[in-house]
Symmetry: C2
């Protein structure tokens, strides 16, 4: 058992004033800690017949790619507009100010696929909800969502109600 | 032995007319093929005391993160400006039209580190050369560079002269 908190660096006022940014780069620079994260994710989901591990760029890729290999599942990238070269499905979603768009290849998932969504951080859950929407529109079933960090005060878990949500480290506001 | 070519999709005229884009998303969607890539990289570099595996976002992360875990080395992200939250070193480099900038955390590498640079594709080598510059300025030594695909006609290998460059699939122009 490893206390992951010691490998997460808190940076005040990034990317804007008042935000405490939780930086996972020290964690992935420590092979034992990085390995522990992947092991925790695998142990939780290994008996759930996951066929695909999906993640939004870019930090999500860091955890989703090794996990896909461990689970012998497909790795499915979800990206910003214009990055994926083949036919895509798009999902537009609301941010605090304005909107954002995510894309997934149209042939990335099919009915019968069982998808695990992975990201470094659960904040409001907006990005993850967009990814889940893309996966479900493709006919896939969602096995669950795995996060390294959960910012509990932002209540992203409420937005992901009905899904199996795993997070390894929780912060409430201002820690 | 797996013929990786069958998992690489060629998409004409992406991102602009005249470009044949080599799409690795079918490859990472096949766990056996994805595993084979990581195994090839690991076998080539496993006796070289790699302490850090670095990659530029975002596709580079997909291969570098699992490889870092396999080699029990640090994973070091290199990112577009404004994405890394801590103090960074910057490197500006020339593109066909204009310039681009990449950043690495100032504390990511230190003298004595032995770095393996990873990306999905070696084209002109500009991005990789920028990453190598950042690593060497931090005092690290470069063990080598690993690519899934090499576009031989763009002669990126010439730009990386003096480094151990491994690529698994080579395309010359117009295949």
């Amino acid at each position: 058992m490893i206390d992951l908190r010691q490998y997460i660096r808190t940076i005040p006022d990034f990317p804007k004033p008042g935000i405490l940014f939780r930086d996972i780069t020290p964690l992935v620079a420590q092979p034992r800690a990085f390995r522990y994260v992947i092991d925790c994710f695998r142990e939780h989901f290994q008996d759930r017949n996951v066929t695909a591990v999906a993640a939004a760029e870019a930090r999500g890729f860091i955890f989703a790619a090794p996990l896909a290999l461990e689970l012998e599942a497909a790795f499915i990238p979800v990206r910003k507009p214009g990055k994926l070269p083949f036919r895509t499905e798009k999902f537009e979603y609301e941010l605090e100010y304005g909107t954002d768009v995510l894309e997934m290849h149209s042939d990335a998932l099919k009915p019968g696929d069982r998808v695990l969504m992975v990201d470094d951080l659960l904040a409001t859950g907006g990005t993850t909800a967009a990814c889940l929407n893309l996966a479900e529109r493709a006919g896939a079933r969602i096995v669950g969502c795995a996060f390294v960090i959960e910012l509990t005060n932002l209540r992203g878990r409420d937005r992901l109600k009905g899904y199996d949500v795993l997070s390894l480290v929780q912060y409430s506001d201002g820690e």
